[in-house]
């Protein structure tokens, strides 16, 4: 039974993530007055990439991408099976760090600058994500997602500030403008393709699939704020996830990329104000 569940999570997560990315591309195109690609375009892209030659710069830089995928899949498994959110977040960070190492390993100037920017991004969003975990613990007295989503009151009632802060930093994790410093899916090309510049073929496909998993992980973080013991709340939680995703797409299309100083500062100010103040207030009750 458990094995079936694990396999289902591993297969279904990228399918849903890929579909969401397809919606993302259509909605982005419509916002720009274009028709946009077919819904299944992300799958076609990945299929094509697997058919292409993978250029090997050196043996290590490909290895790191696969390790990164393993950790991200592990994170997804923990989160979707109701496991420890703190463990999930640290596994996710490990995945990101391996991704950065892969960027450095190729020794290309574009990849190196992409890796540095990715590190800055990790620095920007990580404090808020940790505060989210702490806040959820404060509110529901458990780090386990299955306990958090079976509480009587949704966590959003206790943690509105933390939630807003989380939505703010999800822009980093979903690789959306204005915070898509290290790589972006759109045609912004100022540093070639950032951290993915040296990857081609199957390796690039793996990076894309990793991103699909990350989209689901990000939305799961939104989900736990709304889900409670009553079944109807899970419907609301899914709607909330979709609304947050739509909101991020609109922000993505209506803003230009900012400098890294600004990204870092604004993320930390939001974390400081939204996260900390919310937790302080919570600790008085």
């Amino acid at each position: 039974m458990n094995l079936i569940k694990i396999i289902a999570i591993i297969i279904l997560t990228p399918l849903v993530g890929g579909l969401l990315t397809g919606f993302d591309r259509i909605i982005s195109a419509r916002l720009q007055g274009r028709q946009g690609p077919p819904l299944l375009q992300p799958f076609y892209d990945v299929l094509k990439l697997t058919e292409k030659e993978s250029i090997e710069v050196n043996s290590m830089h490909r290895f790191f991408v696969y390790v990164s995928l393993v950790f991200v899949v592990f994170t997804t498994l923990i989160m979707l099976s109701g496991g420890d959110i703190l463990l999930a977040i640290f596994a996710l960070t490990l995945g990101s760090v391996f991704f950065v190492l892969g960027g450095y390993a190729s020794n290309s100037p574009y990849n190196t600058i992409g890796s540095e920017r990715e590190l800055l991004q990790i620095m920007s969003y990580e404090p808020m994500v940790l505060l989210t975990c702490i806040g959820l613990y404060y509110a529901q007295k458990s780090f386990f997602i299955k306990d958090i989503i079976s509480a009587t009151k949704p966590s959003i009632i206790y943690l509105p500030g933390v939630f807003l802060g989380l939505v703010f930093v999800l822009t980093f994790k979903l690789r959306k403008s204005p915070f898509d410093l290290s790589m972006s899916h759109h045609g912004h090309q100022e540093i070639v393709k950032g951290i993915t510049t040296e990857y081609s073929g199957k390796d690039l496909a793996v990076i894309e699939v990793t991103h699909w998993y990350e989209v689901i992980i990000s939305l799961t973080l939104v989900y736990v704020f709304f889900a409670t013991v009553s079944p109807i709340s899970h419907v609301f939680a899914v709607i909330a996830c979709l609304l947050v995703y739509l909101f991020e797409i609109i922000i993505d299309n209506s803003s230009a990329r900012v400098k890294w100083q600004h990204a870092l500062r604004s993320a930390w100010v939001v974390t400081g104000v939204m996260g900390t103040v919310n937790l302080l207030i919570l600790s008085f009750f």
Binding site: A29, Y44, L47, K52
Partner: protein, 144 residues
Amino acid sequence: MDGIKKSPWILHYDGTSCNGCDIEVLACLTPLYDVERFGIINTGNPKHADVFLITGSVNEQNIPVVKQLYEQMPEPKVVVAVGICATSGGIFAECYNVAGGVDKVIPVDVYVPGCAARPEAIIDGVVKGLEILGEKKKNVGKRK
């Protein structure tokens, strides 16, 4: 299924073009023509590209650049020469620095005529290139 035909990513390089063709290439991305309908993306990175779109003729200065970009693209790949300059040198063919069409340096698969090539013609050229891309993919499999 043939994924490669559904998601051709393009690398656009400007040789000795007068920029007329380049503007038409970029016009393909605008809402009017919107090549993303066919999954076409304009990447700035040879390692992600499937179609090498080159405008303008080659000259002594950019021969190594064109060669290097071509070699950096992973197989299978096609080259589309856009505009009469890229095909034969066009009106610049007689210039002292111009080496001629792109096929002097790298193998070209599709020639798109016009000065400047119309966006419709460019899209047609890329779609034609996709057929060749499909053929090449089979051969890549055979060689292994």
